[in-house]
C-alpha cells in the first residue's frame, strides 16, 4: 500500500466515523441512530484493516472481521430488536434544544483536537495524527449521555463511547492483542444485550423509557 493511498483511506474511514457521530447527535430518530451505528461499525472495521495492512500485521483481517461482526452486525441488530419490541422509533426528547446540542458537539470536537495535540504530539505517524477523531467520538458519546432522555439513545451513546475508544486504540497502537480484543468485544456485546432487556422491561413496567422519570429511589 503506497503512503498516499494509506493516508487517503485513513482520512476516509476516520471522516466517516466523525460524520456518523455528528449525525447521531443531530438526529431525533432512534432507527436512524441505529443505522448510523452500523455504518460506524463498518467504518471502524475498514480502519482496522487499513491500519493493520499498512503495519504489515497478519492478524489484521481476522480482527477486522471480528469488529465487523460485533459492531456492524450484532450490536445494531440487538438494539434494533429492543426498539422493535417496544415499538419506539422516535426520541422522546432532549434536555437541550437542537442548536445547543450541535454547538456543544462542535465545541467538544474542537476540545478533542486540543487535548490530543499535547498527548500525541510527538508521534509523526499519520494514524496517530488522526487519533483526535477517536477522542471526539468519546466526548460526543458523553454529550449524548448527558442530554438525551430516552434509554435507547443512552445505549447508542454508550456504543459511541466504545467505538471512540476502539478508534483510539487502533490509531495509537495498532489495536490491543487479539485475546484481549475478543474479551472486550464479548463484554460490550453482553452489556448491550443486558441493557436491551432492561429497556424492554422498563417499557413493560412503566409504559415509557424516559430515564429522567426514574425517580423511585431517593434519599
Amino acid at each position: 500500500m503506497s503512503d498516499h493511498l494509506y493516508e487517503q483511506l485513513l482520512a476516509t474511514t476516520t471522516g466517516l466515523l466523525l460524520l456518523t457521530a455528528v449525525l447521531q447527535v443531530w438526529g431525533r430518530s432512534v432507527t436512524r441512530a441505529i443505522r448510523l451505528l452500523a455504518i460506524q461499525g463498518l467504518a471502524l472495521a475498514g480502519l482496522v484493516l487499513v491500519v493493520g495492512l499498512h503495519g504489515g500485521e497478519r492478524q489484521a483481517p481476522p480482527v477486522a472481521l471480528l469488529v465487523l461482526l460485533v459492531k456492524a452486525v450484532a450490536m445494531p441488530w440487538a438494539m434494533a430488536r429492543s426498539a422493535r419490541l417496544i415499538d419506539q422509533t422516535k426520541e422522546a426528547g432532549s434536555l437541550a434544544n437542537p442548536a445547543v446540542e450541535l454547538i456543544g458537539a462542535a465545541g467538544l470536537t474542537l476540545l478533542a483536537y486540543a487535548i490530543s495535540g499535547p498527548l500525541l504530539g510527538g508521534q509523526a505517524d499519520p494514524a496517530a495524527q488522526a487519533a483526535p477523531v477517536g477522542f471526539s467520538l468519546v466526548l460526543l458519546g458523553f454529550w449524548q449521555l448527558l442530554i438525551r432522555r430516552s434509554a435507547l439513545t443512552q445505549l447508542v451513546a454508550f456504543l459511541l463511547i466504545d467505538n471512540g475508544i476502539a478508534t483510539i486504540a487502533f490509531l495509537t497502537s495498532g489495536g490491543l492483542p487479539l485475546t484481549i480484543e475478543l474479551g472486550v468485544s464479548l463484554d460490550v456485546l453482553l452489556v448491550v444485550l443486558i441493557l436491551g432487556v432492561l429497556v424492554v422491561r422498563m417499557h413493560e413496567e412503566q409504559g415509557h423509557i424516559d430515564i429522567t422519570e426514574l425517580r423511585e429511589l431517593r434519599d
Binding site: 498527548l119 510527538g122 483510539i168 484481549i180 452489556v191 443486558i194 441493557l195 422491561r201
Partner: protein, 487 residues
Amino acid sequence: MAALIWIALALPLLLAALSFLLRRHSWTLWLPVAAAATLLVVGVALVVAVHLGGPLSTGAGLLRVDALSAWMLSVVGAVAVIALWAGIPHRADRQRSIGLFATLLALFLTAMALAVVADNLGLLWVAIELTTITTAFLVGYRGGRGALEAAWKYVVLGSVGIAIAFLGIVLLYAASRGTGEPSLSWLGLLESAARLDPALTRAAGALTVLGFATKVGLAPMHSWLPDAQSQAPAPVSGLMSGVLEAVALYAILRVQAITDAAIGPELVRGMLVTAGLLSLGVAAAMSLTQKDYRRLLAYSSMEHMGLLALGVAAGGPLALAAVLLHMLGHGLAKSTMFVLAGRVLGTVGGHRISDVRNLLRRRPDLGAPFLLGAAALLGFPPFVTFFTEVAILVAGFGRGLGWQMALAGVLLLAMFAGFARHVLAMTVGSDPDPVTPDPEALMPDRPTVFRQVPVVIALGLSAVLAFAAWPLVGVLTDAVAALGGTR
C-alpha cells in the same frame, strides 16, 4: 503449583454450569457456596505456595499470582462463603428461578477470581466488566420499579465508568510503544516504567483510576451505589459491598504501582485523597438523615471505601497492610450486616429505620448480631476494623497527609454519630407497641442454628483477627512487597 490458578477459575465455572443444569432443585443454592469455599481453599494454598516459592505464572503470562493476588483471592473466598452461606433464603422465600440465581452468583465469583489472578491489565478490565454483567440481573432480581431502576443505573454507570478505565488502559498500551515491545502485562509495564511515555502515562493513570473508582463507589461517581446495594437481594449486596468494591480498589492499586514508578505518586495520590474525603463527607451527611436501613449500610460501604482510598493514597507498608487487612475485616462484617438486614426485612416487612424497634428484645437472634456487626463497622475495639482504621490514620500522618487525615477523623466521627444513632434506635430504641405478644408469633421464620453459624463465625473472626494476626504479618508484608514486583 500453577495448576491451582486454573482450579480457582475452572471449578467455580463448572459449578455455575452444574447449577444451571440442575436449576429446578433448590439445593443448587449450595453450589455457589461450594464455589466460594473453593476460592478460599485455593487462595490460602496460593498464599502458602507464593510465600515459599515466589510468584506463579501461567496461561502464556496472562495469569500471574503474587502474594497480593493470593491474599485478594483468599479475601474474596472468605467473605463470599459467609455472605452466601448466611444468605441462603428461608425455605418459604425461595422462588422458582433460584437455580439461575445460583448460576449467576457462581459466575460472579469466577469473574472476581479472574480479576485478581490476571496479570494482563486488559484481562483485568475484562474480568471487572464481567462482574457488572453477572450482577446486573442479580441487582434487578427482586423485580419491581425500584429494582429495575437500580439495575439500570448500576449497569449504565458501571459500564460507562469502566469504559473510561478502558480508555486509560488503551493509552497505557500506547505509552508502552516506546519501550520496543508494547505490552499490557502488569509486570512488564512495571519493569519498563521508566521508559513509558510520560504524557500518555499521566492521562492513562488519571482515566484508569477515575474509571475503577466508579466501580469502587467513590464520590462523586457513587450515585449507583446506594440504589444497587439497597435493592439487590441480601447476599448480593453483601458480596458487592464486601468484596467487589475491594477488587476494584485492587485494580487501582495495580495501576498506581505503575504510574508511581513512571511519573511519581502525586497524580494518583491527589485523585484518591479528593475522592476519599468526598466519599467520607457524602457518607456522613447521608447517614445522619437516613431513613432506610439498607441504604444506611450502603453509605457505610462508601465510608469504608473512602477510608481505604485514603490509605492507598498514603501508601507505604503500614497503610497498605492496614488497607489489605481492612478489606477482610470490613468484608466479613458488612456482608453479615447485609444478610441480617435482609432477614430483618423478611421479618418486619418494612425497609424504613422507623419500622424496626427494640430488635434486641423482640428478636435477640437478629438484634444481638446486628448490634455487634454495627460495632465492627463503626470500628469499636476489639474488632479488627478499629486497629486498621487507626493504622491508616497514623500512617497518613506519617506520610505527609496531616490535615487530610485530621479531616477524615472528623468525618468518621460524624459518620459514627449518624450510624450509631440509627442502629441504637433499631435495636434498643423504645417500642411503640409495648404489649409483648406471644414469642412464638414473633418468630415465624426463626433462623435455624445452621444459618446462624456463618454469622457467628464472621463476627467472631473480625473480633479476634487483630490479636491472632501474627501469622498474617508475613502474608501482608509479602502482599505489600508484591506491588514492587518482587513477591
